[in-house]
């Protein structure tokens, strides 16, 4: 029995056959469902299971029901969308740049989106997300191009460390813009602080409905890019030899990253590390095939984001720790581990 297990386990992990990976994905989906349930049941307000069931069954107007239906459910759905978007954006960037440190957070894409959002709000006075989500896309695009461009200077091209450094610099610059706008704007004190650290609190159906279409579209495009990313992973020459149109692939990837990271940031502010760490975990679980990495990232990322959010809700009673802060605390050591880990550092 024991030997049988050993014999089965070894090749299974080495080859990672499709069936095992499929089962793994189903298990992760179950975990995700559990995390979603926790996200709806746990919070600063203690609400019994009975009241939660009632909130869905009768459309009553009690405070408990309002908190569940109008706050925790949209919050959980935003966590699902934003988590998936940020994780996939990270996987796409890592595939695009073949850089293990690529992440929309580290590369300043999210801070770029934030900076554009606050500037847009300050300049045009709009609090309408239908409008400012476009500022987010613009900011994400500018940041992506800027960081990648800066990092590409020099003979060796965009090395992982250069990309991370350029990202840190651009990120800091955008963060300074955000802070500058926020401290010099009286409305900002209340409304814009949110754009400095990402959070799922204070975001309701409105934010969900206005960002979800973009995120769903981005996810759909991403899931079709698995083969193309596998090609890029072999290097441009090989990819071209295999008949790929590398330039077009890159363009599609950049646009998709912009869509995902921009919409996620518009929904919940700048959040780092999901996009960095989760794709690596997915890669460790299922090997180098992006056709598996992408769906694994899709499911794993919201698990991490929602779990971090639930922890944040309970950690700092009666207030809440923003999920961006929780992930910062968890993510920093993960980032250091990645930088120091040579085997991961090669994509």
């Amino acid at each position: 029995m024991t030997t049988d297990l050993l014999h089965q386990a070894a090749p299974a992990t080495r080859h990672r056959n499709g069936a095992a990976l499929g089962v793994g994905l189903v298990v992760l989906l179950a975990v995700l469902a559990v995390v979603c349930v926790l996200s709806i049941t746990l919070g600063t307000r203690g609400i019994g299971l009975g009241a939660i069931v009632d909130a869905f069954r009768d459309r009553d107007d009690s405070v408990d029901a309002t908190v569940i239906r109008e706050m925790r459910v949209p919050r959980t759905l935003i966590g699902l969308c934003a988590g998936a978007a940020l994780g996939l954006a990270g996987a796409l960037l890592q595939g695009l740049t073949r850089n293990p440190l690529a992440d929309p957070g580290i590369m300043g894409v999210n801070t770029g989106a934030s900076a554009f959002i606050v500037s847009g709000i300050a300049l045009f006075g709009t609090q309408n997300m239908t409008v400012y989500i476009w500022f987010a896309f613009a900011g994400a695009a500018v940041a992506t191009v800027l960081v990648y461009g800066v990092a590409s200077f020099g003979r060796e091209g965009a090395t992982p460390v250069k990309l991370a450094l350029a990202g840190a610099a651009v990120s800091a610059g955008f963060y300074a813009i955000t802070t500058g706008v926020v401290v010099s704007n009286v409305d900002a004190l209340n409304q814009m602080r949110f754009w400095q650290v990402g959070a799922l609190s204070g975001r309701y159906w409105d934010e969900l409905v206005r960002s979800a279409p973009f995120i769903v579209a981005g996810i759909a495009i991403t899931l079709l890019l698995g083969r193309a990313l596998n090609g890029l992973a072999l290097g441009d020459d090989m990819a071209v030899a295999l008949g790929q149109r590398v330039g077009r692939t890159r363009a599609v990837v950049v646009v998709t990253v912009t869509l995902l990271a921009g919409a996620a940031t518009a929904a919940c502010g700048p959040i780092v590390f999901i996009g960095l760490v989760v794709p690596h975990v997915a890669r460790a679980l299922c090997g180098p095939d992006y056709r598996w990495i992408l769906p694994y990232t899709l499911v794993l990322s919201p698990i991490v984001l929602l779990a971090a959010d639930v922890i944040g809700r309970l950690a700092l009673q009666p207030g809440e720790l923003q999920v961006g802060v929780v992930l910062g605390i968890v993510g920093a050591p993960a980032f250091i581990a990645l930088v120091r880990n040579r085997s991961l550092a090669k994509l």
Partner: protein, 328 residues
């Protein structure tokens, strides 16, 4: 996070004030000078202070008696200090427009002989020199003695402290040009007391709605709320103030219905945007007073003059008169 919140709230606490001021500075007086600070310390100088650096809200307290500081420091952008609007800031250097950041070099060049910033007992610190501010800013407090009114207790006492300060400099605070504001204040106070008396059982709750939390003010640490309570208004005491920042109880929006007053007093700094933020929260309407639109601006920690206090009391009196003691 905690730090960000503290910075925000400190800067909220630190925002500033309205007053009128005619500028004429008395140049007489080489005699020794002393005045008692809000923390009980007696500050002594061998001459009258002439070069005062003041925190913004406090500066308005001085300027209502024509005492013009050489410099002021603010906790945020100058244009966000509604209280300084209309004040003649000509010749007054601005040496800080961000919480926790005072330009120490400029301050040193101005050779101040006194620094005026109110005393905050919970933090055991003067305005501008609380825990968490820039180290360089703290150096400013070493340039000259710091003095200020006690921000625990009565707001009337705070305003009187500035009146006394002016008197200590030989200014005739009873002169006609200063008396009008004081008289209007006395009338406003008595009208407020009468309005409250006519509404027995009326409860009030002072809040500052934020995007992620609802902050509930603790009356003991708000001089204005302390006065309102003394004058008969039943301002609800939140039961769980934040331990290390006891000005507020922090409520998550999920728990926004914890206290049910008849009348909401809403921090008036950024009032309109605050209301927008609050109305976006699904639970805001679960506060019955909010649903009934029974709310009114409340001066959040910035009043330093009789005129400003009179304005605020008149506004509050109207709200109390319209309030319905049966909402909650």
């Amino acid at each position: 996070m905690t730090r960000t919140l503290r910075l925000l709230l400190l800067s909220l606490v630190a925002m500033s004030l309205a007053a009128c001021g005619s500028s004429s500075s008395d140049d007489s007086g080489d005699a020794a000078w002393s005045y008692t600070s809000g923390n009980g310390d007696v500050i002594k100088l061998d001459h009258q202070p002439k070069r005062i650096i003041a925190s913004a809200a406090e500066a308005a307290g001085l300027m209502q008696y024509g005492i013009k500081p050489v410099a002021i420091y603010l906790a945020q952008d100058l244009e966000l200090e509604p209280g300084l609007e209309g004040l003649d800031l000509d010749g007054i250097e601005i040496i800080g427009q961000e919480w926790g950041k005072i330009d120490a070099e400029k301050a040193a060049q101005l050779k101040p002989d006194l620094i005026v910033g109110d005393w905050w007992p919970p933090q055991k610190a003067y305005q501008g020199f609380e825990e968490g501010v820039d180290k360089a800013s703290l150096k400013v407090a070493e340039l000259a003695p710091v003095i200020g009114a006690n921000q625990e207790g009565s707001l009337e006492d705070v305003v009187e402290w500035y009146e006394g300060f002016a008197r200590s400099l030989g200014i005739d605070v009873d002169a006609e040009k200063y008396a009008a504001g004081k008289k209007r204040y006395a009338e406003a106070k008595s009208a407020f007391q009468q309005a409250v008396k006519a509404k027995p059982g009326l409860t009030a709750l002072a809040v500052a709605p934020g995007a992620d939390l609802l902050y509930v003010a603790v009356p003991k640490y708000s001089t204005s709320l302390t006065d309102f309570k003394d004058w008969g208004l039943d301002v609800i005491d939140p039961d769980s103030p934040k331990a290390d920042f006891p000005y507020w109880e922090y409520l998550s929006w999920e728990k926004a219905d914890k206290y049910q007053p008849d009348l909401l007093l809403i921090d008036d700094r950024g009032y309109d945007s605050t209301i927008d933020v609050a109305e976006k929260q699904p639970t805001w309407d679960k506060i019955k007073a909010a649903q009934a639109r029974a709310y009114t601006p409340w001066p959040g920690y910035w009043v330093h003059t009789y005129d400003a206090y009179a304005d605020q009391l008149e506004q509050l009196t109207r709200a109390v008169e319209q309030a319905d003691a049966g909402i909650a």
